[in-house]
């Protein structure tokens, strides 16, 4: 048995071929609340962008895959680990939080 609380589903994704993000202080956006999520970005060894999702909404793996594919197309990152704690956010909110988090790495203002 893992230490994942009952009812949570864990999903892992990995993307290659991105541009190195370089050094940055880890970033946290969003909150863990109903219909919302928390996204953490940290620098990582290697040339991949690794994503781990822990979600209370089970059975949406294919949608997460599609959301993360599009995210990687928008922001091809390398050397980054993304951790997501999700409480049933819609794909629109997930994409928004991911974009907000990436904006903090690049220091880009909306």
């Amino acid at each position: 048995m893992s230490d994942v609380p009952a009812g949570l589903e864990t999903l892992d994704f990995s993307f290659s071929g991105g541009r190195p993000a370089g050094a940055f202080a880890s970033i946290l956006v969003g909150v863990v609340g109903s219909g919302n999520l928390e996204v953490m970005l940290e620098p990582a060894e290697g040339i991949d962008c690794a994503v781990r999702v822990e979600t209370s909404a089970r059975g949406f793996g294919p949608i997460w895959q599609a959301v993360m594919n599009d995210f990687h197309t928008r922001h091809p990152l390398a050397g980054v680990r993304i951790s997501i704690n999700d409480m049933g956010a819609t794909p629109a909110v997930v994409s928004l939080r991911l974009d907000q988090a990436v904006a903090e790495i690049t220091g880009e203002q909306p």
Partner: protein, 560 residues
């Protein structure tokens, strides 16, 4: 001619009135009936099989008369044919369970939708048809004229004049149809005035249209249906509101419009004095409204955006604010709001250039429906707001531009120049609990089969929808030239739903190049700008503040 009597209805009314007078005796003074004698009145006036309108609006309810009707003796009064716009109270269905009523023509049954479906499948209710509000009112004057109308008013004077107050709603349409075709009008009132020492603030229904007045033991039920707490508006709704303002309102120069009841459109109202102002749109959009007094419109009114608002009904807590802003709202000489659902529905249909609202399901033809399995919910006013007005003849820039887009390159009748109403469906691709808003097949089709309806209960037909707006973008269906294009335009804004994921990516990119689909970035909108800070009010308290303390929200919304 072998017909000797052409005044049967008038004689029948006279006979019923005489029967009531005889039965009531001392319980009747002029038109006033003692509260406790209401049951005797109903049994004296009603005959089996009568067509009866029990005023049930979407806000105001003749609840005292509804309870009285449930209690009449079914041996004396049975088989009534109810014709009323909204089934809101349990009593509206109790009368079918106890046999007092048998047949039903209506518009909307929101809170009673599930129970109604059960009674229909058990054969306890025969439904004539489900209408829009305007359509049902129209039939009051053709083939569904009430014999007896049971209505609600705020106050009556000694002669029987009625003051309906801010929530006039359906009352004039019901009473006019009944009173002028030999029918009988009974009003429950919250208050009686003597007409001498105390008078009505104004007369909404004249006394000679009214036969009986009964004082209800407590004020009639009324629902604040249009109050949306800004605290619950999400960032995604802010994003969609920005897209609506920049991609549709500004694009077409929409000055005359109607909004749905949801949080999505409340977000638009709250972005007018902030985001829309920053785009220089003040004076260019949103001047004239067919709309209930939405508290969310207060900041835009205060910032000088709004010239006029005509309302279907009122909204609890807005009374003093309306009174203090009589240039904007339709008010009587007494200062209080005069609403009128029939006129406002006509205004929304013929004099507005845009309707925008939400829905539960949209299919690949753009048909949309709020029907869900196991519920018969009806339509209300949305189909009249959300439909092109085929009889409209006056032009406006927004209407002409929409018409040109729809007709460009077409020939013959389809190419004859005319305008078109903008009908926008605004939905997040997933509702709560990840329910997709886009589906291959509407639940409405299954409901049709289950309930044996003539047609699936489609709220807004695809050929009336001009734009579908989601967080992914705006699909302009006016520019589509084939069913296949339309399908890809809809898939192209359907996000990560199964319908959206099954898009033809090349076709969708092609539609985007042609401006049929526009993403937020195509409109110059960065989704990260879409924060709640853009809302002119972020809480109920902010709305009260914006009104200078004039808006007094009902208790359940006082969360500070």
């Amino acid at each position: 001619m072998d017909r000797m009597n052409w005044n049967i209805k008038a004689e029948n009314r006279t006979a019923r009135l005489a029967r009531a007078a005889a039965t009531l005796g001392a319980d009747l003074t002029g038109k006033r009936v003692a509260t406790e004698a209401v049951g005797k009145l109903l049994e004296a006036v009603l005959q089996p099989g009568d067509r009866v309108c029990l005023e049930g609006n979407n806000q105001k309810q003749a609840d005292f008369l509804a309870r009285a009707l449930v209690q009449v003796d079914p041996a004396k009064v049975h088989g009534l044919h109810m014709v009323q716009s909204v089934l809101a109270l349990p009593e509206h269905l109790d009368i079918f369970e106890n046999g007092v009523a048998a047949r039903l023509d209506f518009s909307f049954s929101g809170p009673q939708g599930a129970r109604l479906a059960k009674l229909v499948s058990a054969g306890r209710i025969e439904i004539g048809a489900i209408h829009t509000y305007l359509e049902l009112f129209a039939r009051y004057f053709v083939d569904l004229t009430p014999k007896v109308a049971l209505v609600a008013a705020q106050a009556a004077d000694a002669e029987g004049n009625l003051y309906t107050g801010p929530n006039t709603e359906d009352t004039p349409a019901i009473v006019e149809a009944t009173a002028f075709s030999g029918g009988i009008v009974i009003a429950q009132v919250n208050e009686l005035v003597d007409g001498k020492t105390t008078t009505l603030p104004r007369i909404d229904i004249p006394a000679d249209w009214v036969n009986f007045v009964v004082k209800a033991p407590r004020p009639n039920v009324i629902e604040p249906l249009f109050t949306r707490d800004p605290a619950q508006i999400s960032e995604v709704q802010v994003l969609m509101a920005m897209m609506a303002i920049k991609g549709i309102y500004a694009e077409y120069g929409v000055q005359r419009l109607n909004h749905g009841i949801g949080f999505d459109t409340a977000a638009i109202e709250l972005l007018l004095p902030t985001y829309a102002e920053s785009l220089g749109l003040k004076g260019k959009i949103g001047k004239h409204w067919a709309l209930n007094p939405h508290p969310a419109l207060i900041p835009a009114i205060e910032a000088g955006w709004v010239e006029s608002v005509h309302s279907f009904g009122s909204e609890l807590g807005m009374e003093d604010y309306i009174r203090a802003r009589s240039d904007v709202f339709f008010t009587g000489a007494d200062g209080s709001l005069r609403s009128n659902r029939a006129f406002c529905q006509a205004a929304g249909h013929y004099a507005c250039d845009l309707f925008i609202g939400s829905t539960l399901q949209i299919d690949l033809d753009g048909n949309s429906s709020t029907a869900t399995l196991g519920r018969i919910a009806g339509f209300g006013g949305a189909p009249n707001m959300g439909a092109d007005a085929r009889g409209r003849r006056h032009a406006s820039p927004a209407w002409l531009k929409a018409g040109q887009e729809a007709r460009a390159g077409r020939t013959g009748a389809a190419g004859t120049p005319r305008g078109q109403k903008l009908v926008v469906q605004m939905v997040e691709t997933f509702r709560e609990h990840m329910q997709p808003a886009f589906v291959d097949r509407l639940d409405a089709w299954t409901l049709q089969e289950q309930a044996g309806m003539d047609l699936p209960p489609i709220m807004i037909y695809g050929d009336d929808v001009t734009h579908i707006l989601t967080e992914e973008g705006i699909a302009n269906l006016l520019l589509c030239r084939s069913d296949a294009e339309r399908e890809q335009a809809i898939r192209g804004v359907a996000g990560y739903t199964a319908v959206g994921l099954a898009r033809d990516r090349r076709a969708v990119e092609n539609l985007r190049d042609r401006g049929v689909i526009r993403r937020p970035q195509d409109l110059g909108i960065d989704p990260r700008q879409a924060t709640r800070n853009l809302l002119a009010a972020r809480s109920m308290r902010d709305l009260v503040r914006a009104s200078g303390g004039l808006y007094q929200p009902p208790k359940r919304f006082r969360n500070w």
